[in-house]
């Protein structure tokens, strides 16, 4: 199944500033981003914690406490993980919108 990503303009700006902020850890950040992008495109990542229930967004860990927030075009609820977080299954999605990078730490 062919899958594609749309990187929002604001996500791009956030990403550029993150590379500035994480000076010295650029390779680590790039490697993790590559993993996420590859996983979403080739379908090897099909489940992720729900980010916001009303707008079908999910999130995946990036580096440190940072998470990448994205929205698949098709998703279903798929139980909970060990930490009790709701899990979303987006196996049938063909398009993913990259929306934001946020900090998960309380």
């Amino acid at each position: 199944m062919k899958r594609e990503l749309r990187s929002a303009g604001r996500f791009d700006r956030k990403l550029a500033s993150l590379f500035e902020a994480l000076e010295g850890r650029e390779k680590e950040l790039q490697a993790r981003l590559d993993e996420v992008v590859k996983g979403l495109l080739d379908g090897s990542i099909t489940r992720a914690p729900e980010h916001h229930p009303t707008d079908d967004t999910c999130c995946l860990p990036l580096v440190g406490h940072l998470v990448v927030v994205f929205r698949p075009d098709k998703s279903v609820a798929d139980g909970q993980d060990e930490a009790g977080r709701n899990i979303t299954n987006f196996e049938g999605a063909r398009m993913f919108d990259l929306l934001n990078i946020e900090e998960e730490r309380e």
């Binding site: 929002a8 996500f11 791009d12 790039q30 998470v67 929306l99 990078i101 900090e103």
Partner: protein, 159 residues
Amino acid sequence: MAREYARLRERNQVTLPASVVEQMGLNLGDIVEFSTNGKGGVQLHPAKIVKVGSAEARQEEKAAKQDIQEGKYTLIRSVGDFRKHVEKLRKGEAPSVAEPEAEHLTESQRHDVEAVVETTLMKLLSSLVEAPGSSHKHRHHEERAAQRRQVRSQAGESF
């Protein structure tokens, strides 16, 4: 609108006025974003990483969705595409632009469109190739038939 001034120093350094730093809520180590407005002016924004679940985070997500609705996004089809995209972003070279609608089609949809276009073109071409001869023949037959009808009717009248 309050105005403050600062002098450009060596290596393009400028000290932000304290009131600006305070108003923007900046702290040591924070990243700021400069964006040109195309008219010789520059806007300065704090480039903060917001907390999950905060009002700011919701606002940013909403704005990003709006970007996508308005076509302000970059389409990524492979990790290679993404790496090039990031490289450009880091050089400040990649403003996100809307791609033409055709670029949004999936591969199978593109194949379908190509098949329809090909079939339509083939039909059009074959009708163009056949049309001059066939219409000429058709006209010729009609003229001959009309002539025959005329001759018969004249002959009928004379009998």
